[in-house]
């Protein structure tokens, strides 16, 4: 049992998260406190969940893209476009608070996100362009499109209904985190209850073998890019809704990097194949907690990135098979030699050499 826990690839991200939370408690003793006001929960933990919701959502989409051996750099741009479209639509209507206006705005934004996902999907699956290049196109062009939509201005809207998604509460919790968790639940169910997860992993590990085995390579690759863009679209709505404005320049800036980082911290390899959605959620929470820690610890903005880098490197090292073996050997020198057994098979590092002669 203990062996199984130690071998679990989720162990180190989970420990890192706990350590970060612990650090925060030391810095601010009231960190874990959760207050109830007007049936709403407030507190640092709730803030982390709410502020981390968009990254979490984008990272979920990114997980599936990375599992297929791809990468989606355009999510930040899609976030900006989605927010810009929604705000521009609401701002143009006489009654920004009507249900129809808000619903139409959201549908327009998500529709656009799907179209952008289709574009990425076509480039990657039909034309066989390398994912990093294909999505780079939209990454650069997309923010320009968002600026065109908002005429280069920050479009502010006054719509209480629109604010619900990013700043509202339901069941005592922020709506944003509920949406992200709902998407997580749906994706986890679909990938693991249907055969999609297995087929996706097969494509990520060996695309040609999968194609020859009759797996719908194109369709699945297509679908993951559309899904990724859709997640980014929802995240864009959340961000715009939270501040009641569309900031085409800054909305979702570098969110693709945070999302990729969350996926990697969560234990999904950038080489594609096996993926862990739970790991990604943990990864996204780590990144958001880091950001919060930086603020509560009063670390100057200049050193923020360095601090982030140190934590990320530590987590990644703990996951690296070579580094773990090194640690094990150190420990093994004192105790009895460690014999690899079946429990380790779950987390067998991909660099492990073939045992057959």
């Amino acid at each position: 049992m203990t062996r199984r826990v130690i071998a679990s690839p989720l162990l180190w991200p989970a420990l890192a998260l706990i350590a970060l939370l612990g650090l925060n408690v030391v810095l601010t003793p009231s960190f874990l406190a959760i207050r109830v006001e007007d049936d709403h929960l407030y507190g640092s933990l709730i803030d982390i969940l709410r502020n981390g919701a968009p990254t979490m959502l984008v990272a979920l989409g990114m997980t599936l893209v990375i599992a297929s051996r791809g990468i989606d750099l355009s999510v930040g741009a899609v976030v900006a476009i989605s927010g810009a479209l929604a705000c521009a639509h609401i701002a143009a209507q006489p009654d920004g608070n009507s249900v129809t206006t808000v619903a139409t705005a959201m549908l327009i934004a998500l529709g656009a996100a799907v179209v952008l996902g289709l574009w990425n999907g076509i480039l990657v699956s039909s034309f066989g362009i390398q994912p990093i290049i294909a999505t780079l196109v939209l990454m650069t062009a997309g923010r320009g499109i968002a600026l065109l939509i908002t005429n280069g201005q920050i479009v502010t809207v006054t719509s209480e209904r629109f604010r619900v998604l990013g700043a509202g509460y339901a069941l005592g919790l922020p709506v944003a985190i509920l949406v992200s968790l709902a998407v997580f639940a749906v994706v986890a169910t679909i990938t693991r209850r249907s055969a999609l997860g297995m087929l996706l992993e097969a494509i990520g590990v060996n695309p040609e073998a999968s194609r020859l085995a009759g797996v719908r390579y194109r369709t699945i690759v297509f679908a993951v890019y559309v899904f990724s863009a859709l997640c980014a679209g929802i995240a864009g709505l959340m961000i715009a809704s939270n501040i009641s404005a569309a900031d085409a320049n800054n909305a979702g800036l570098w969110i693709e990097m945070d999302a990729i980082l969350a996926v990697v911290i969560g234990g999904t390899s950038l080489l594609g194949g096996r993926f862990s959605l739970t790991g990604t959620i943990l990864g996204a929470l780590i990144i958001q907690t880091l950001t919060t820690t930086v603020y509560t610890a009063g670390i100057t903005p200049e050193t923020t990135l360095v601090f982030k880098a140190v934590v990320v490197i530590a987590v990644c090292l703990m996951q690296a098979p070579k580094f773990r073996r090194l640690l094990r050997r150190r420990r093994g020198a004192a105790g009895p030699p460690t014999v690899p057994d079946d429990d380790v098979a779950e987390s067998a590092p991909r660099t492990d050499t073939v045992a057959a002669s």
């Binding site: 209850r193 060996n206 020859l212 719908r216 067998a348 057959a356």
Partner: protein, 511 residues
């Protein structure tokens, strides 16, 4: 030098005692003891998956051993890397020459140990020392020539020269002859004998029994990660050796020929597939071929003769530029493997690693991949149905280890091939296209696969069987289509002698 008997033997230069190594899901070596004497050529024998490579990697420090001890020249060693093994005088020459083809012969031989002058490489001294080493082995190779300009055989000899430059006490040759012709093998053996006579212990691994009997003094046989025994080659007959390597699987070989005789195609039914001038020049020129239910059609020819390319056209992996194809008597266009699979075609590629296995996934997932892909992701096989299928096929095809959770990359080549076969058999295909299904796998698995193919045909499946080994093609095929330079030059009956096939491949015409 004569083989030495155990009683009067000198101290072993290498003594490995009770070595055990485990990998996730596999016990690769289980208490294996191995002794290598100075001045002998020792053959390490066993099927794929028997543990030969693992034993070599334990000796060369690539793998850490879980239990047991290694002694080199009387000194207990615990290698934690290949470098330490090299320092102890153990050198290895692998099947694939891993030298730098862009450097010169001399640079390769002394790579990392170049003579220096004023901190720079002294090329004159470098070439001189390399020439000395080469002439010591009586090799006539210009040390200043680029390594890549030489054929593989010469590169291999250079690799051996490099090994001797470190004054190797032990030289390990892992399948050194697999890509050499007879003359090159003779040259290699001359060098090996010379090294042996100078006192070097040579560990020799080869699939070719003739060569093993020609060169080795003693041999150690492994099976399923255990040592079967240590023998003096001269006293150990071929039949004994094969029995030791295979255990009970030997009798299978005899059954195959019998079963093959019993399969006969039913002329009353239409062909499963019939191609009419299907081609994709220049690799495949128009081929017209019918394949009937219940028959094995062998597709023979040299490497690059268009066999694989034709199979890919048939399976929709590539699209033909000419001709048409009918399935069950109806015209069909196969635009993708999916379209072919929908018509109950199945295809295992010759490139098992790149186009076959999905290495990071388990044996279970690999087994059900094609069936699941055909059902679509929305209709997943239940865990129960999956386990039932997996258990049945793992038993039927004798896939080892019998644990479906093992990652397929940890299986031996033969077992991987069986998983791939099972992947398709689960889909109950009408036409099974097998491209080199027995290449690079051991005799036992080979026999099992050949037997399976003939049984499947007897049950009414149509099989297109591609192989480089003409013996094999003749043994199991009802008809043989012969490819040469992209042309289908002949279609013959299964009974035709191998010599006739060889003649046709060589001359390219039917008399």
């Amino acid at each position: 030098m004569a083989p030495t008997s155990t009683a009067e033997s000198p101290t072993p230069v290498v003594e490995m005692r009770d070595i055990s190594i485990s990998f996730p899901g596999v016990k690769a070596l289980d208490g294996v003891t191995f002794r290598l004497l100075p001045g002998e050529v020792h053959a390490l024998m066993g099927e794929n998956g028997a543990g030969k490579s693992t034993l070599i990697k334990a000796l060369t420090g690539v793998y850490d051993i879980d239990a047991g001890s290694i002694t080199v020249a009387g000194v207990p060693c615990r290698f934690t890397g290949p470098r330490q093994a090299q320092d102890a005088g153990i050198s290895t020459v692998y099947q694939e020459v891993n030298l730098c083809t862009n450097l010169t012969v001399a640079e390769n031989i002394l790579l990392g140990r170049e003579p220096r002058r004023f901190g720079r490489i002294d090329h004159r001294a470098l070439n001189r020392r390399a020439r000395d080493l080469l002439s010591h082995l009586e090799l006539d190779i210009d040390p200043r020539s680029t390594l890549g300009a030489h054929p593989i055989a010469i590169q291999q000899l250079v690799a051996i020269a490099r090994a001797t430059a470190v004054s190797a006490r032990v030289l390990i040759l892992d399948e050194p002859t697999s890509s050499l012709d007879a003359e090159e093998v003779a040259e290699l053996f001359r060098v090996i004998r010379q090294l042996r006579d100078n006192g070097t212990a040579v560990l020799f691994v080869s699939h070719f029994l003739d060569q093993v009997y020609e060169i080795s003094d003693r041999m150690t046989v492994l099976r399923n990660g255990r040592r079967v025994g240590e023998y003096v080659t001269a006293d150990f007959g071929r039949h004994q050796l094969v029995t030791a390597m295979l255990g009970r699987e030997l009798e299978l070989l005899d059954e195959i020929a019998e079963t093959a005789q019993e399969t006969h195609r039913n002329d009353m039914v239409p062909p499963i597939v019939s191609t009419s001038d299907i081609g994709r020049p220049p690799r495949v020129h128009p081929v017209t071929l019918d394949i009937f239910p219940g028959e094995v059609v062998g597709l023979a020819g040299l490497l690059g003769s268009g066999r694989t390319e034709f199979a890919r056209l048939l399976f929709g992996a590539d699209r033909p530029t000419s001709g048409h194809l009918s399935v069950d008597g109806k015209q069909a266009r196969l635009r993708s493997p999916r379209a072919a699979i929908a018509r109950r075609f199945a295809f295992t590629s010759e490139d098992r690693k790149a186009h076959g296995i999905v290495g990071e996934l388990s044996v279970r997932d690999n087994l059900v991949l094609a069936l699941q892909a055909r059902r679509g992701f929305a209709r997943p096989l239940s865990a129960k149905a999956k386990n039932r299928l997996v258990r049945r096929y793992m038993e039927a095809l004798d896939i080892r280890p019998r644990d479906p959770n093992t990652l397929i990359k940890n299986l031996s080549g033969g077992n991987q091939q069986k998983v791939l076969l099972a992947r398709w058999l689960i889909t109950q295909p009408a036409l099974l296209i097998l491209d080199e299904p027995t290449r690079g796998i051991d005799v036992g698995a080979k026999a099992q696969i050949q037997k399976l193919v003939t049984e499947l045909a007897a049950d009414g499946m149509a099989v297109l069987f591609i192989s480089t080994e003409l013996d094999e093609v003749v043994r199991i095929s009802d008809r043989i289509a012969l490819m040469r330079d992209g042309h289908n030059i002949a279609q013959l009956d299964g009974g035709c002698p191998v010599s006739e096939l060889t003649r046709l491949i060589a001359s390219g015409s039917q008399q």
